[in-house]
């Protein structure tokens, strides 16, 4: 039975649910939808699409199919709408765009059979696989983007095969993204632990000052802080000037556009996210636990390993989780201070969204990133003690 209290609770939670729905579930759904949707060819080449649905896929299609394809493409081109279709088909297999453009250009002079003209123009038109590729693009759904996100594609006959080496970039990218994130998370945890511990045992006045020192950079925009590193790490920047003037090095050291710079700037940006949860957990560890351990005969290092470390573990877990999640989505910092080999997956998601306008692959990469992050966090949840309480000690 719904009591008044329950009703009240539901009414209080409703705005939150709505917020989660609007800000999380809807965009997530839209992203997943984008990643599998296949609308370019069916919407711009509707007749070709309809004809190809009836094609048996074994022999070459009839003259009518060749003719309709070229005809619809030309109309689209005249209305400036051919771009998305050509992009879509070229993404299915590189080279399809030039094949189609070549056919389009030549078709002005065609008289008689379009099929024979095209085959004469380029023997690929006699390959049923080309038509297979076009048919695969006629929607309404496609596994293409997800397959490509893990360097796979559909080969002849619809078999899943690895993509050509020069196109197989995404798995490497995912590995690099998680590698950078794991390294940054480890560095942050190792640095945050003693800092948070010191903060937790200082007298209150000093703790407040310390927390301020942690929070001030935290309140500064990521872009500003990254730009600061960009300037500091330059070949002609202050660090190199100092090193050279102290005669520690003969030549300025290359720091900008390296992995080192990425780690440095990311750790700097993310460290507060590791310190704050750790500090709050450590603050709650009563000194009586350590006293009890001492009275029971444990020397300092054993007290730390057996009592303090496990009790502070929820803070480590909460901080590491936060840092890891944020690292995985990092974009600006590696883009500014990293080299071409240090870019993370978000850089490519942004690139596909803004520059090459291939929202399908951008959405698939984003969804996959989220899925993999979720799986990694779930593994940590199962393996790391103290993780489950999410930093809340009982």
């Amino acid at each position: 039975m719904m009591t008044r209290r329950n009703l009240l609770a539901a009414a209080l939670i409703a705005p939150l649910l709505l917020l989660v729905l609007v800000s999380f579930i809807v965009p997530l759904g839209a992203t997943l939808y984008r990643a599998v949707e296949d609308a370019e060819v069916p919407s711009i080449l509707p007749q070709t699409t309809a004809l190809l649905k009836q094609w048996d896929g074994k022999d070459l299609p009839s003259e009518q199919v060749y003719h309709t394809l070229i005809h619809e493409l030309r109309e689209a081109q005249e209305q400036q709408k051919a771009g998305p279709v050509l992009n879509r088909l070229n993404f299915e297999e590189t080279g399809l765009r030039s094949l189609l453009l070549q056919g389009l250009r030549a078709s002005q002079q065609f008289n008689g059979s379009t099929k024979q003209h095209l085959i004469a123009l380029n023997p690929r038109w006699a390959d049923p696989h080309v038509w297979d590729l076009i048919k695969r693009s006629t929607g309404p759904w496609t596994p293409l983007y997800f397959l490509r996100s893990v360097d796979l594609k559909l080969g002849p006959g619809g078999v899943v095969v690895p993509t050509a080496d020069e196109e197989a970039v995404f798995i490497k990218l995912f590995i690099r993204t998680f590698e950078i994130s794991v390294v940054v998370t480890l560095i942050c945890a190792v640095l945050a632990y003693p800092i948070a511990y010191t903060l937790s045992i200082l007298p209150q006045v000093w703790t407040n000052i310390g927390i301020m020192l942690v929070l001030i950079p935290f309140w500064t925009s990521i872009l500003v802080r990254t730009t600061a590193w960009f300037i500091i790490l330059q070949r002609e920047g202050p660090i190199n000037a100092l090193l050279v003037s102290l005669k520690l090095v003969d030549q300025p050291v290359t720091m900008i556009f390296t992995r080192f710079a990425v780690y440095l700037a990311m750790v700097h940006v993310l460290l507060p996210f590791a310190i704050l949860p750790l500090y709050s957990v450590m603050r709650g560890i009563k000194p009586d636990y350590m006293r009890a351990a001492a009275s029971l005969g444990a020397p300092g290092w054993r007290r730390f390993l057996r009592i303090y470390l496990p009790l502070s573990m929820p803070g480590v877990a909460a901080g590491a989780l936060m840092v890891f999640m944020l690292s995985v989505g990092f974009y600006i910092t590696p883009a500014l201070v990293g080299g071409s080999g240090d870019q993370m997956i978000s850089y490519f998601i942004a690139f596909f969204t803004n520059t090459s306008v291939n929202w399908g692959i951008a959405a698939a990469l984003a969804a996959l990133l989220m899925g993999m992050t979720g799986i990694l966090v779930a593994i940590a949840w199962l393996l790391v003690p103290g993780f489950r309480s999410g930093g809340v000690r009982v």
Binding site: K286, S295, G297, I307
Partner: protein, 363 residues
């Protein structure tokens, strides 16, 4: 004859270098004894205990345990069991894990550990709960685990800082008896801190009454109750009537006190009181006889200001000797069930029950 296990010699403690919270404390604890530190909040009981456990360093003086100077021995090498007020059970370990911890620290092997854990759990009647986490236990059960953990590694000395403070009255009284029995059974020396006087009186061999960082009296419970050394102890232990007056006559056992309103009372001397000096008469409410009967040395008629009913007895607030806060206690053995507020009743007490103590300004 005397075989002290712990000796405090002129122990002084100041946390900030300005306020001294323990003043030149001398205390000697016999082997196997149950000694309670009793006193009001902030009187330095915990501080004294913490110095013995090794969590605080004395600012001056020495502590010895079994003849060994403790001042610079770290806590983990002292071998003293401690029961904390909030138990301080390790929340990430099971009950058995908590008990196993001190044994592991001593390098005791698995099978003996298991045996001793089981014995300790049986001793505190928690046999089947070894695999629970502390958070899954009731307050009383947690208290028992804390007790078992402080005893399982067989220390010669166990310290307890208000171990029963968080329990309800009934459970507290039950645990008092259990702790007492365990103490007798194991023969371990216990130093116990409480600010509950009845707890101190029922459990201890000797009680050290603390006030403002000083031991006011160190004595057996009956001595504390019957012969408090000073007015602070008299008023802190049990209920007490205090009447201030001047000594007008004395011999070597008794004296005559004249109160401000002229009332004269005869009482036993409990300190060296010269004629003409100010003194406090200390008298327990239960020593006052209410109603007619064999008149005692001191017999008066008092007005009833208030009746407080307790079931097995009734307390009376009376006007007597210029004070309207004189308490008496009666169980109606002498009849008189129809006492009324505002009525007058005869009251009397023996001169041996009233104790005349030197008056000190600070109270």
């Amino acid at each position: 004859m005397s075989d002290p296990i712990v000796v405090f010699d002129k122990i002084t403690k100041s946390y900030d270098g300005i306020n001294t919270v323990v003043h030149e404390l001398d205390l000697s604890i016999e082997r196997g004894e149950f000694v309670t530190l009793l006193g009001p909040s902030g009187s330095g009981k915990t501080t004294t205990l913490m110095m013995l456990a090794g969590f605080e360093e004395p600012s001056g003086g020495t502590i010895t345990l079994d003849g060994r100077l403790l001042n610079h021995v770290p806590a983990h090498q002292r071998g003293i069991g401690v029961v904390f007020q909030n138990y301080a059970l390790f929340p990430h370990m099971t009950v058995a894990g908590n008990l196993s911890f001190p044994l592991e620290m001593q390098g005791i092997g698995r099978s003996e550990r298991d045996q001793r854990i089981k014995a300790a759990l049986d001793m505190v009647k928690l046999g089947p709960l070894g695999e629970r986490r502390p958070a899954e236990l009731s307050g009383g059960q947690q208290q028992r685990v804390a007790l078992a953990r402080a005893l399982v590694f067989q220390p010669k000395l166990v310290l307890m800082d208000e171990p029963l403070g968080a329990l309800d009255k009934q459970l507290r009284e039950h645990m008092q008896m259990e702790i007492k029995h365990i103490h007798e059974q194991l023969g371990v020396t216990v130093v116990y801190v409480t600010h509950d006087q009845s707890e101190a009186l029922t459990m201890s061999d000797r009680v050290a009454v603390f006030n403002q960082g000083r031991i006011q009296q160190l004595a057996s419970p009956s001595t504390l109750y019957e012969e408090p050394a000073n007015a602070f102890v008299a008023s802190f232990i049990g209920e007490n009537n205090r009447l201030v007056g001047t000594v007008v006559a004395r011999d070597d056992r008794y004296c005559q006190l004249r109160l401000e309103d002229g009332t004269q009372i005869e009482a036993r001397l409990a300190g060296d009181l010269a004629i003409g000096s100010k003194a406090v008469l200390s008298l327990r409410p239960e020593r006052v006889r209410v109603g007619p009967g064999e008149p005692d040395t001191n017999a008066f008629t008092a007005r009833i200001e208030e009746l407080i009913y307790f079931g097995d007895h009734t307390k009376l607030r009376l006007s007597l000797g210029g004070s309207s806060g004189f308490m008496a206690r009666t169980d109606f053995k002498d009849g008189l069930r129809d006492l009324q507020r505002g009525a007058s009743v005869p009251v009397s007490w023996s001169r041996d029950c009233g104790r005349a103590l030197p008056f000190s300004e600070q109270e």
